[in-house]
């Protein structure tokens, strides 16, 4: 079976045209899902994990997450922590979902982790003839933890809940200021 290994820097080594190739619904799986279970230290097991895919509708994701978080506050069903996980093309959507949730519910502490994820895809030829091709890709993945409880501020990737109106009223400026104050370099 032909075997391709896609390097990350030139991620276009195997980009099949969709008219000729079709990806099988084998369920490409994360090859190292057993190796790194959760990038967040000390996280309890029963935390809600929202897996954002490329075709997910933000409306559906937000409806579910908001209902769970707002449910009953600190009770069993009302959660205090939620993790958004996405990889490949869904990274932007993951960040968007997290930002929307932060905007709707204020006062959430955020922890962001990025890593590589190995994915195995199986493409089969539409017209037949050519055997299937297995492609191994490493795609960037992001995990965003949002919690009502305070987190460790020394952890890299920590972002405190936003002040209602920051210095210049812009959340981007606040994030940049956070980067600057950590490193103690002047703007």
């Amino acid at each position: 079976m032909p075997y391709y290994f896609c390097t990350v820097s030139s991620g276009k080594s195997f980009s099949p045209s969709r008219s000729l190739w079709r990806r099988e619904n084998v369920g490409e799986h994360d090859l190292d899902c057993a190796l790194n279970p959760s990038p967040f230290p000390g996280l309890p097991e029963g935390v809600l994990e929202m897996r954002v895919k490329e075709g997910s509708k933000i409306r559906n994701l937000m409806g579910f997450a908001m209902a769970r978080m707002q449910g009953e506050g600190a009770e069993q069903s009302g959660l205090r922590q939620v993790v958004f996980v996405g990889s490949g093309r869904a990274v932007t959507k993951t960040i968007t979902c997290a930002e929307i949730l932060k905007r709707r519910l204020g006062g959430l502490h955020q922890l962001t982790k990025v890593r590589y994820k190995s994915v195995r895809e199986v493409w089969e030829n539409r017209e037949g003839g050519t055997p299937e091709v297995t492609v191994h890709r490493t795609v960037p993945a992001i995990s965003i933890l949002l919690s009502k409880d305070p987190l460790d501020p020394q952890e890299p990737g920590y972002q405190p809940p936003e002040a209602p109106m920051g210095l210049w009223g812009n959340p981007t400026i606040n994030a940049l200021l956070l980067c600057a104050t950590r490193s103690k370099t002047r703007f």
């Binding site: 990350v8 820097s9 030139s10 490949g88 093309r89 990274v91 932007t92 960040i95 968007t96 997290a98 930002e99 905007r103 955020q110 962001t112 982790k113 990025v114 890593r115 590589y116 960037p140 992001i142 965003i144 890299p156 990737g157 920590y158 972002q159 812009n170 959340p171 981007t172 400026i173 606040n174 994030a175 940049l176 956070l178 980067c179 600057a180 950590r182 490193s183 103690k184 370099t185 703007f187």
Partner: protein
């Protein structure tokens, strides 16, 4: 203002926004009205059916995306985009990291929208090349973008502005002390 105009026109993406009375909207409104109201001869204008308060906008709009707000740029800030070659951006980040001079050796990589995944890629590649000596800290934020909607003929109407939000990521790459 000349420089701002120059960058504005270079960066401009023009989209045609279909008018409200385009064919697709016409069919949709007709199907809605046919279900609600019985067909009568007196109804000549499709837009009036159903009692909806949609104004007939015969003008097409040209959509221009404005540049995002100019953010301050320190020496070790790198803004990532999709136009420049990936390897060139990676090499520039690597050079900045190696020759950061005295003081804390770190750079900050920013990406907006589609460039978020590229920014993450660059940061992870830098970490891989350093054999694990580098650490990453990622922050996310929302950036407000403004679009200008200009009508086809300039005397017809007003220029509307629409704001939308986009996601951005800021990754700090540093050597831990």
């Amino acid at each position: 203002m000349y420089l701002a105009q120059k960058y504005y026109s270079q960066r401009m993406k023009i989209f045609k926004v279909p008018p409200i009375n385009s064919k697709a909207n016409f069919l949709r409104r007709m199907s809605e009205s046919c279900g609600a109201v019985s067909l009568s001869q007196s109804q000549s204008l499709p837009g009036v059916a159903g009692g909806s308060a949609m104004d007939m906008d015969p003008v097409e709009f040209t959509l221009r995306k404005r540049l995002p707000r100019k953010l301050p740029r320190r020496r070790n800030d790198v803004y990532v985009n999709m136009k420049t070659d990936f390897r060139a951006q990676l090499a520039r980040c690597q050079k900045l990291l190696d020759s950061a001079g005295p003081g804390p050796r770190e750079i900050c990589i920013h990406g907006l929208g589609l460039a978020i995944s590229r920014a993450i890629n660059i940061a992870l590649q830098l970490q891989a090349c350093s054999q694990g000596a580098l650490q990453l800290a990622a922050n996310t934020s929302t950036v407000e973008l403004v679009d200008d909607l200009e009508p086809e003929d300039p005397d017809e109407g007003e220029t509307l502005t629409r704001t939308r939000n986009n996601s951005a990521i800021h990754i700090k790459v540093f050597y831990p002390q």
